[in-house]
């Protein structure tokens, strides 16, 4: 539905460089990145507000370069929702039909369905200023969907909501997207939001795509140190591949040796990335399927909710996330000796120094001079 090929956009000193991504019909794709990465710039170029300096944009197979905004058939919900403050909810929702010169009842069946599905039926005569944050969100979504856009572009639309309301709306959007097979491009800096809503993820850093793929793949195997950092991977340590054993890489990290499943073509200098949830702690214990069994000493225990963060010295700084019950059972205190187990597939290696792996994923670029 949306095909973006090597799109380059310049806004002042900022440059979005050769961004390529494809959103299939009925798919939700998230563009993830810290603020200032160029996410909104990308959306504006797709919408037609900004003119790209290079590359190609196709909407439903048609080249969209010279198509004005109103004929691209894209629904858009910006961060502040863009509800028209001088119009009632009803008039906001009817705007699309009126702007296209259609009889107001043209979109009515779709609109009625959406109004019912989102539960905003009682708000129709109110003005946007009289709505709560969550209500505004629903109205913004329904209005964008009323004209049956070919794709829906969302620019951090849930950023201003509290946690529980945000989750509620994620599920609402998720349901709408599934039921109506909506094509959605979601821009967000919230990892959880991308994980819940999207099937595929593009990670944008400094105006460039650093990683792209299935969400689980991107989440579990960040392609660049910056991505891992951005995702909040707990353990991120420099290492060096010292050998290959049974098709598995042996990595020297600090004074410890780890076994990892390495992508072929990986450079020797790597960054070892281990999610805290993947580290299992025990006292002694018998044989295990985990390839990495490391004697470790507890350095600090930071209580968190719901997981406790245990910082260990396993020859290198290693962080484990365990439940409070496990923490009490194992009597984890600073100085206690434990065994840390990590399965080889959970030890993820990120090439250092801009080497490209066989997945075709580029490492994080060095920032522009």
């Amino acid at each position: 539905m949306l095909e973006i090929e090597k799109l380059t956009v310049e806004v002042g000193a900022f440059r979005l460089r050769e961004v390529s991504l494809t959103v299939a019909r009925g798919e939700c794709h998230a563009v993830l990145g810290p603020s200032g990465a160029g996410k909104s710039t990308l959306l504006k170029a797709i919408l037609g507000v900004l003119r790209p300096h290079g590359g190609r944009l196709r909407i439903a197979g048609e080249d969209a370069a010279d198509v004005p905004i109103e004929r691209r058939g894209l629904g858009y919900v910006p961060q502040n929702l863009g509800l028209f403050p001088h119009l009632t909810v009803r008039d906001n929702l009817a705007y699309s039909a009126r702007a296209r010169g259609l009889p107001p009842n043209e979109f009515q069946p779709v609109l009625d369905e959406l109004v019912a599905a989102t539960g905003i039926g009682t708000l129709l005569d109110r003005y946007p200023a009289e709505l709560s944050g969550g209500e505004r969100q629903r109205v913004g979504l329904v209005r964008a969907l009323a004209g049956r856009p070919r794709a829906l572009l969302l620019d951090e639309p849930f950023a201003s909501l509290n946690e529980s309301l945000r989750r509620e709306l994620w599920w609402l959007l998720h349901e709408l997207q599934r039921e109506r097979e909506l094509t959605v491009l979601l821009v967000t800096h919230d990892l959880a939001e991308a994980y819940v809503l999207a099937e595929r993820v593009t990670v944008l850093f400094d105006g460039q795509v650093v990683q792209q793929g299935e969400k689980a793949e991107v989440y579990g195997r960040p392609a660049a140190p910056g991505v891992a950092e951005f995702f909040g991977v707990e353990t991120l340590q420099p290492g060096r591949i010292v050998g290959v054993r049974d098709g598995l890489a042996v990595v020297q990290v600090g004074t410890a040796e780890l076994t990892a499943v390495a992508a072929s073509g990986c450079a020797n200098e790597v960054l070892v990335s281990i999610r805290g949830e993947e580290v299992v702690l025990d006292r002694g214990g018998g044989p295990t399927s985990a390839r990495n069994v490391l004697p470790a000493r507890v350095v600090t225990v930071r209580p968190g909710s719901p997981l406790v963060c245990v910082e260990l010295d396993a020859g290198f700084p290693l962080v484990a996330l365990v439940t409070r019950a496990a923490c009490e059972e194992l009597d984890l205190r600073p100085g206690v000796e434990v065994t840390a187990r990590v399965k080889a597939p959970s030890v993820h290696l990120i090439p250092r120094g801009g080497v490209v792996g066989d997945t075709g994923i580029a490492a994080r670029p060095s920032p522009p001079d």
């Binding site: 109103e70 691209r72 858009y76 028209f84 705007y95 009126r98 702007a99 964008a144 004209g147």
Partner: protein, 258 residues
Amino acid sequence: MTFRRTTIVAALAVLALYAGLLLSLAWFLDLETLRSAVRSERTLFSVRLSLWTATSAALLALLLGTPAAYALSRYRFPGREIVNTLLELPIIVSPAALGAMLLMFFNHPLGVWIENHIARFVFTVAGIVLAQFVTVLGVAVRMLKAAFDEAPVELETVARTLGATPRYAWRTVTLPLARRGLIAAFILAWAKALGEFGATIMIGGTMAMRTETLPVAVYLRLAGADIEGTVALILLLVVIGLAALFATRKLLGTAFRA
């Protein structure tokens, strides 16, 4: 003195200043002169002429100023900075100088051609409207631009994704959101045009029953040492101006939902 009090005293000083000026008129006020002045054919003509020219000039300023201000607010185009700077011209140059410039324009070949083939401006009502229009246009565009600056561009984008052409989005979203600024710009332009003297007298002259606006009439009375008559006309100008401003605010204020 507290900060709050200092500011309130300043506000009251403003009131005292203008109230003092108005009250000093009372010293010279002669009811009989006022009555006859208000009733005289010549004064009524001046009132009508002033209302008519000021309203025309303000409307023209809005007509040209609104799209111009929108362009200045939204688009980057060659000459934008120069336009932006020139808007201050009528404020820097005195109105009399502006009127003199107009007069000179109509004495140079292009101006003469316009006078002969399109319309006469020198010593005519059209000239008065033109003088007032030129004087108030700069301020009107400034205010209109500020009004458009406050209407979010994002809403126009959203409107367009909903199928609106740029023109439709402007009419249905930007314009309603900028309406307070538009009303304020019109009121200020109108009030400035009503009291305009320097440029008006330069191009319109001082012909009774032809080009004599109220401010010009005030000047003529004073020049003729007719103090009571001057007072009467000033009061008339003040009353008409304030009443009209009040009425416009009321009218436009209720015509649009806040």
